[in-house]
Subunit: 211 residues, 2 copies
């Protein structure tokens, strides 16, 4: 496998390609960069360049073998490792996440759902028992948790991130509307509804101004 350095823009497109290949695999065995690009909303040259970082070998005049390509992308993304995830926060959002079948579909395992509210601890959500926040460190260590998902109110997010980082979690997905401060070596990705809404709002008002 040629890993080398894969640009971050490419990395963030790989999941999109994977999803599109999922659709394509129902009806074809191979696909061209042009087909994949049009489904993924990208440029075909970009698709070819992105895939070239994976050490793929498409066939000139034919295209890419869909199954082989899916395997290569899965491997590049580390999806075959089966990283364990802990979800912190069992409110509306945490429950929605617990019910989300995308975790297992893409090879992740939800190792625990955690909350600090005594009213919620012990409840069943999506077949999982809500466990107490105080057990976080033990759960992370024993269940080899690699990824922490923060689905708490904004006010608690930083404290949760601190505990996750201290427990050894190096990857955090933050749904709380806060910018987290974390030690070097910890990667945070933010999923933020209001940021996205505000970007849409910008374009609406710009278009309105343009007439």
């Amino acid at each position: 496998m040629v890993r080398g350095h894969i640009p971050s823009a490419t990395v963030s497109r790989l999941p999109v390609y994977l999803r599109c290949l999922d659709d394509l695999s129902a009806t074809a065995a191979t696909c061209s960069s042009e087909e994949l690009a049009s489904l993924a909303g990208a440029n075909s040259a970009q698709v070819r360049k992105d895939l070239s970082y994976l050490g793929t070998h498409g066939v000139r005049g034919v295209g890419y073998n869909i199954e082989e390509l899916r395997g290569q992308i899965r491997q590049a993304l580390g999806l075959d490792t089966g990283y364990a995830v802990v979800i912190v926060g069992a409110g509306n959002l945490g429950s929605a996440l617990s019910n989300y079948d995308g975790f297992s579909k893409w090879g992740f395992e939800v190792a625990a759902l955690i909350d600090n509210d005594p009213e919620k601890i012990g409840n069943r959500v999506a077949g999982r028992v809500v466990e107490p926040f105080s057990e976080l460190e033990g759960i992370v260590t024993e269940r080899r948790v690699s990824i922490g998902v923060i689905a708490t109110p904004a006010a608690h997010a930083q404290a949760v991130a601190d505990r996750l980082a201290a427990a050894g979690v190096r990857s955090i997905l933050n749904f709380a509307p806060t910018v987290l401060q974390v030690p070097a070596g910890v990667e945070v990705r933010r999923v933020d509804l209001s940021t996205e809404l505000q970007i849409l709002s910008f374009h609406l008002s710009r278009d309105a101004a343009a007439g």
Copy 2:
């Protein structure tokens, strides 16, 4: 106001600045680009350049007036317009979104929560009655809906997007794990948990490989 062309990278950072200024406003009346950068996780030169697109006038040797700056960012993002939002899908995610206070906090109004499941129609979620999907067009027109939020299963997302676009909605926020095909002039932003997880996974496996 100097609008000109604001680069998209700048637009996507404005909501982050706004949130950081929200925090800062509790304790200060002005702030420097350096302070704002460190909170927002950016470079101070970048902050100054971003803000310069808004026609801001910071004061040399002093910094930016926080209240004035918030107003300028809000205006640039069109948050003062109060765009109306319709949420399609009243499942776990749609319910979580309905309960989210960020809509009103940032000037958006949730005009309706819609589902096509007879079991859900008529239910109350976060004080709102779930309305039938068949009413979509009427709701969009009468309540002047500008933004559609898709919180349905992936299988229905494209059909919902088609109906939203046909009803005149020009901005769509898509939580379903699909790449939507929409007519020109319709802007889609995707919020995708599994894409974010996969990007984290990439970095984990790369770090593991690096030792």
